[in-house]
């Protein structure tokens, strides 16, 4: 039982990290980035290619994170400019469709060029015993990274001027403009941040098992579920939702069975939308 819950928390932190990048972009102007999973995969492929050239893992990971951030900025400067000219539901819908198109382009090109591409980062080290439960070193590292990222993000949004500027755009775009915040610059920065987070997801996901080239759609789906359950635009909500869903996932996988588990997760998302459309911590 204790092992199952700990497993769930490890998985949940990974879910949370996955959801954060999507929730930030949504909070900042109502765009759900459906290409998010494909950007994660892109980072993974870049890292694996750089590692093949004999570059140290840490350096390769950095290159991957930068590449993902670069692609995200490129998306923002090209497609998203047209999207942000729209307002309300029109904007959300157009964002949804354009990022879906981008997902096809990125995913299709990657699968076409690297059909067997995959990233696996082997974390050496003895299993660590936590509360008497042995945990794989890779999972421990992935969880530490996720916690650190969550902490840094909360600090960034809570205590820095730029973080407050971002929150002002989230709350009221026109108001933010009136007090001298440039929403379009803020959005570009957040897109870059979201891309970098996608790169970090690629690293942590591949620490516990290989991340294959066709994982994009599944990653996007889970990110979407976490985002919706946690509350669109809320960093803490994404992590809370991630951990809750992670624990639900491993409990039901352990006691009921794997195939029902996915349905339970999906059901949890649907029920959250119906009972509390703003999500756990959404405004």
């Amino acid at each position: 039982m204790r092992a199952v819950i700990l497993d769930g928390m490890v998985l949940g932190l990974a879910f949370g990290l996955l959801g954060v990048g999507m929730t930030l972009v949504y909070g900042l102007g109502g765009v759900i980035n459906l290409a998010y999973g494909q950007i994660v995969v892109l980072a993974a492929i870049v890292i694996s290619l750089v590692m093949e050239d004999g570059v140290a893992t840490v350096l390769a990971a950095l290159v991957g994170v930068l590449a993902a951030a670069g692609v995200a900025v490129l998306l923002d400067l090209t497609l998203m400019r047209a999207v942000y000219r729209q307002h309300g539901e029109e904007r959300t819908l157009m964002g949804l469709l354009l990022t879906l198109g981008a997902a096809f382009v990125i995913g299709g090109l990657l699968i076409w060029r690297y059909p067997a591409g995959a990233l696996y980062i082997n974390v050496s080290g003895e299993p660590v015993s936590i509360l008497g439960v042995p945990m794989a070193a890779g999972s421990i590292w992935a969880s530490i990274v996720a916690l650190a990222v969550g902490f840094v993000l909360l600090l960034f949004f809570g205590a820095t001027t730029f973080g407050r500027a971002v929150r002002s755009v989230i709350q009221d775009e026109t108001g933010a403009r009136l007090v001298g915040v440039n929403p379009s610059f803020v959005r570009t920065v957040i897109f870059a941040l979201s891309g970098a987070l996608a790169g970090i997801v690629a690293i942590t996901q591949s620490m516990s098992g290989p991340l294959t080239v066709n994982a994009g759609f599944e990653l996007t789906t889970f990110a979407l579920i976490v985002t919706v359950v946690g509350g669109l635009g809320s960093v803490a909500g994404a992590f809370l939702a991630g951990v809750l869903l992670g624990i639900v996932n491993s409990l039901s996988a352990h006691y009921i069975g794997q195939y029902i588990t996915t349905i339970i997760l999906l059901g949890a998302a649907a029920i959250t939308i119906l009972i509390r459309p703003r999500g756990l911590l959404g405004r």
Binding site: I32, T92, L100, F104, G108, L109, I111, Y259, L266, L274
Partner: protein, 338 residues
């Protein structure tokens, strides 16, 4: 008075002209184009199936703004419902088709009822229906005894002249598509069409003008889902074999969304034109599935950046500009004559 009445009837008659033309083209297409080539026939059947899905989706999304990302799942409810019924009992195909269609209509109506009751916007309706799609796909994989999981299900009780590579299947789906188009246009000309236009242009204003927006939404979703379910059920019998991929999200929903948007949301012939264009595109791009996906992506981006309201609207706008002076003169003349 009689004059305006005949004018109105005349306009309704003209409204059905595109359907007559489509029906005529579909009727002669086999003899002038693909004849007895099984490969081309199966491509044409596939295009017709997708066009039929498209009309249903267009009724739900194009007319009442409900983003149903579960076209594949609804078709699957129809298809698997029908196939499982004829597999488990010895009932004939007709019973399977009726049960499959009714199940899809009920599921679609319920999804719409839930999203209307909780007043979910486009996005949340999209997410709820997407979640339903994924859950349905998982259910298909899990219920091994009933659905055969990934290996699929051989559909029993199929009439012998309905095979996928025969022209019989082609005419079945051509007839189905024409029937759907007639239903769609009839709805547009009835009080439904008036409500649809109202709630698409300005929902609040429509509500204030006395249009029961929620009820029309649920009606549209139920009828559209019945269309999708009926198509899915007939596809199951025509193909003789179904598997989760027949109705999967990435095979059905993504395509339907793309080509209906390409053709023109809310237009009568948008789904037909879109399905036709994408069928030709598929035939040209048989070499690489991945590159086809890339091209789809480019298409989607181009459509929504460029002519966002679809081919039909673009052509109508061009036509208006070409013959603009004459067409614009007419409405000015008419009131003064009466």
């Amino acid at each position: 008075m009689a004059n305006t009445e005949s004018l109105r009837l005349g306009r309704i008659g003209w409204g059905f002209l595109p359907i007559v033309v489509t029906a005529a083209i579909l009727a002669v297409l086999p003899s002038v184009w693909f004849g007895d080539s099984p490969y081309t026939t199966s491509l044409a059947v596939q295009a017709l199936v997708f066009a039929s899905y498209g009309v249903g989706f267009n009724l739900i999304f194009g007319s009442t703004n409900q983003l149903f990302l579960c076209v594949g799942a609804l078709a699957g409810v129809g298809g698997y419902g029908a196939a499982i019924l004829t597999d488990q009992t010895s009932l004939p195909m007709a019973a399977g088709v009726i049960v499959g269609t009714a199940s899809a209509a009920i599921v679609g109506g319920l999804l719409s009822w839930v999203s209307v009751r909780r007043s979910l916007g486009i996005i949340f309706t999209g997410i709820v229906t997407l979640v339903f799609s994924l859950a349905f796909a998982n259910l298909l994989l899990g219920q091994r005894e009933l659905t055969g999981s990934e290996t699929g299900l051989i559909v029993t009780g199929v009439p012998s002249d309905l095979g996928d590579d025969r022209v019989g299947g082609y005419y079945l789906f051509a007839g189905l598509l024409v029937a759907f188009l007639i239903v769609f246009r009839t709805l547009q000309h009835s009080h439904f069409g008036w409500a649809f236009r109202g709630l698409r242009d300005n929902e609040v204003a429509a509500e204030l003008a006395g249009v029961n927006v929620s009820r029309y939404r649920i009606y549209a979703a139920t009828i559209g889902s019945a269309m999708i379910g009926l198509t899915g059920a007939l596809l199951a019998y025509s193909a003789g074999f179904i598997s989760p991929t027949t109705y999967s999200f990435d095979r059905v929903d993504v395509r339907v969304l793309v080509f209906v948007a390409f053709g023109g949301l809310g237009t009568l012939l948008g789904p037909v034109i879109g399905a036709g264009v994408f069928a030709v595109l598929d035939e040209q791009l048989t070499a690489s599935l991945e590159l086809r996906e890339v091209l789809y992506g480019v298409f989607v981006i181009a459509i929504f950046l460029g002519f966002r309201r679809g081919v039909v609207h673009a052509v109508v706008a061009l036509f208006d500009r070409l013959v603009g002076s004459r067409r614009r003169a007419q409405p000015d003349l008419q009131p003064s004559r009466e």
